[in-house]
């Protein structure tokens, strides 16, 4: 039995040796092809994947760089004095807090320009610390009832002038007749919300509509370009100080 199994083993070994001798010249090329396949799976494909990932990263980084460059070019060409002037005009049109001085100036200017005599007027300031929203929703405002002395046409002219005067206002009701009238008007303001200015975020260039708006608002009568009445100015000194301490948010940054 043992002799038989030994014989069988010898026979198989001889077969293997014969096969080896017969195909030994194929072993090297076969090994090379196998190694090539392994290299493709272990090295080439991962490297190619890494290349694709790096390409993606490069694209993202290039976009960031382009944004930064565009921001740099835009900001370096931005005229500071014009920005300051635009900012002043816009904040007069929509103050960040309750601008009592601006409101009284607007009323007195519209009155002086249209010849309408302003009688009693009543502020409905509401909560000094909170926001009162009326008219265009989501915008806090100060409501004023104004009694006017003048004919209907003068009252209308007064309102037209008020709409061209900072701060931005909205007339809620008009009552005119004979030689007197009254309007209810709200003056808007909007605090600056705290926000993070990201230097790497793309800066949106102002559209034509935006520049037209700035031009329009700059042409409005405001506290800087309208003649102030001495009595109003003296009246405001106390009110504006109070308003500044209660409602003004000068800058959110």
């Amino acid at each position: 039995m043992e002799i038989e199994s030994g014989k069988k083993f010898n026979v198989e070994l001889n077969n293997l040796l014969t096969l080896y001798r017969h195909y030994k010249d194929y072993l090297l090329p076969f090994g090379v092809i196998l190694a090539c396949i392994l290299i493709v799976f272990i090295v080439v494909i991962p490297q190619f994947q890494q290349y694709l990932v790096l390409q993606g990263q490069l694209k993202v980084e290039m976009q960031k760089l382009n944004v930064l460059k565009a921001n740099y070019n835009f900001l370096s060409n931005l005229d500071s004095s014009k920005s300051d002037a635009d900012y002043n005009a816009l904040t007069l049109a929509l103050p960040s807090g309750k601008d009592f001085a601006g409101i009284l100036n607007a009323i007195s200017y519209a009155s002086a320009k249209t010849g309408v005599v302003v009688g009693d007027f009543q502020f409905s300031v509401g909560s000094l610390s909170g926001n009162n929203t009326e008219g265009v929703s989501a915008y806090p405002s100060i409501k004023i009832d104004i009694n006017l002395v003048g004919n209907t046409q003068s009252v209308i002219q007064f309102i037209q002038e008020l709409y061209k005067t900072a701060p931005a206002s909205e007339v809620l009701s008009i009552k005119a007749g004979g030689n007197s009238g009254g309007i209810t008007v709200i003056f808007y303001y909007k605090p600056f919300l705290p926000q993070q200015v990201d230097d790497s975020a793309p800066v949106a260039v102002l559209s034509e509509k935006d520049t037209a708006l700035i031009k329009n608002v700059s042409s409005w009568n405001n506290a800087l370009n309208q003649p102030q009445l001495p009595s109003i100015s003296s009246l405001l000194s106390g009110v504006s100080t109070q308003a500044a301490s209660l409602g003004n948010n000068s800058s959110p940054f």
Binding site: L54, L90, T91, I174, L193, S200, L206
Partner: protein
Amino acid sequence: MNNNINLISNQNVGLEKELRRLKKFRLISLICLITVSLVSVLIFVLNLTLPLDSVKKEQATTAVSVVTFHKKLVMYTLITDRIKNISNILSQRGNYIPQIDEVLGKIPADVSVDELNVKTGAISVFVSSATLLSINKFMDDMVSFAEKGKVINDLIIQSFSLDAASGKYSLGLTANIP
């Protein structure tokens, strides 16, 4: 017939075939080796030459330059914020002046406005005149406006009376402003 008589041995033909096959196999393996090597080197070089680091360096340099304009950027952000809000207010606020102008523009010279009220999209006008013809003309114009629906709509005559003492006709109209 004895095979040994043939001048060309069958064994040699088989060997040549075997050699040709081996040669082909070696050639294929060589091509594989060269291709894989070339592709590996190529991808390696491509990975090395991607300018990711230089882009990041340039980014950092530009970012530092941009930071010097931070104040300008803040100012610009505030300006865009105000523009957005003012634009919203101006586009949404009620402005009835053009409609009021249109209505008042149709009042004849000998008709006087006794009362004008405008509130939340509604207008009411009370006029009086010694001439009925003028009152009629004004009413016709208002009806025309209401039919067109651009200046006013839903026109209602509130009152129409004659004050015998003063000899004046009075007309009261209310309408909605679209």
